[in-house]
Amino acid sequence: MTHPLIRRVPWTLLAFAAALCIPLLASRFYTSLATDILILALFATSLNLLLGTTGLVSFGHAAYFAAGAYTCAILMKNHGMPFTAGFAAAGVVAGLMALVFGFFCVRLTKIYFAMLTLAFAQIVWAICFKWNDVTGGEQGLANVPYPDLGWMASIPGLGGMRVGEHYFYLTLVLVGICLLILRRISESPFGRILTTIRENPERAEFIGIHVRRYELAAFVVAGVFAGLAGALFGIFNRGVFPDFGYWSKSAEVLIMVILGGMAQFWGPLVGAFTLTALNQQITSYTEFWPMVLGLILIILLYAFPAGILGTLVNVLGGRGRRTDA
């Protein structure tokens, strides 16, 4: 069993407290990096609801990320709507898209499912790329405005900070809430049923589960949170571009999940952190980041298939129990 002392430590709370200190202690660069990591952590965790919990391999999750990003950016930049509206709309649009695409995808299994998710994602990418009037086409939409964060100055401690740092706190809170919701969902009876679908869909069918409906529900939930992550990212990036939906983005987030460990709820967050940090470091030395990424991936697949967090849990706990128990 996991060492009882390790169990007792409220890791999540500690991490949150540590995160709160980042703008106070670190430079603007690292605050910005932390914002990036938080957003990608949400994106990756949403994918893990499909991958780790339900066992559905999606090669096109970036489509919903892009949908959310474009929705929020378009509403805020072109229609002057407040962030709350843009953020909420991002989730709704991404969720609807996931509903439509997912309906067709869940009728297929395994490799066909994966290929259709890929095809749909590329369609979204192509639309973003070509629909100049709405999406800005190849150039995308630049100068996406920050939300109005002036009210943050009145919070004690945050008075003297820049907008980038205020945005970090906003992201921290929003991502934190989303992650807690996702965790609740994966630990709920609904989440339990999803794990049975992953383990043995035939058997799940014959304890009375309408497998397709559950898979579609998981697909939509995952899409919604990916869209929310996209909305946050569009603002952070100060612009939205078609490559948000390109298959390499889907591959990137997939790698994050595997890198961190898909059997643990916080695995994707660890993966997002590690991949972003590595990317940051390595691209300052060489332009051949893809090769490094490929080699890391190969090492991962052979030596640490359970991912960073998964391997850690196995080593410490002896059994690698899933935290969605």
Binding site: R184, R192, T196, E202, R203, A204
Partner: protein, 246 residues
Amino acid sequence: MLEVRGLRRTFSGFVAIADVTFSVERRQIAAVIGPNGAGKSTLFNLITGHIRPDTGHVRFDDSDITGAPPSAICRMGMGRSFQHANIFPKLTVFENVQAAFIAHRRTGTNFWLKSRSIFADETRVLLRSLGLLGQADTISGTLSYGNQKQLELGLALAADPKMLLLDEPTAGMSSSETKATIELLQQIALERELTLLFTEHDMDVVFAIAQKIAVLHQGRLIAAGTPAEVRSNPEVRRVYLGEQHP
């Protein structure tokens, strides 16, 4: 309780089931036997909705279930256990059965409760009746084969079925495990007022507990009746002559 009429199913020209008609009364223990390839598994799959018949009807508990999806048929009160131990390997024994309760009590759409303690009492009661309570926290994929089959039975029972279809429940078991399983089945059938329909290769098992036997050969029903009737049926003897019991 279960009525099968004129069922027929072909696969690319091969006739797997041809014009099968029989019925199982409430609370009866019935068995379907036949040589390998006779179509027993196909018949079960037709009844439980995993495949659709080309022609014919299946009636369960006075409703027509022909062509209905497996999850719906399960909800109507038909449970099934599979030939190989069909469980959720990486979940614990407790989680396996708990999931079955969640599915049956239609709590699967609940996104909010913490599922750690849900239906815990019912799960423990069921596990105890199966003799698996001591292994509740074991990862089910690591159980012995016999225990996995018991767990499998538990999954079917959690849905509080009216009828159980059991695909070779004692396959791969030692004689002591077989004996234990048979006693368990009889006891459960009595307690829960279940109707049982099972397939078996082990003739001792069949003739020990079945009240009605149907004999399948090359997709056709060649006999159906009490064990004594079937045992003395000349065509059954012809088909089985020379067939060694496992």
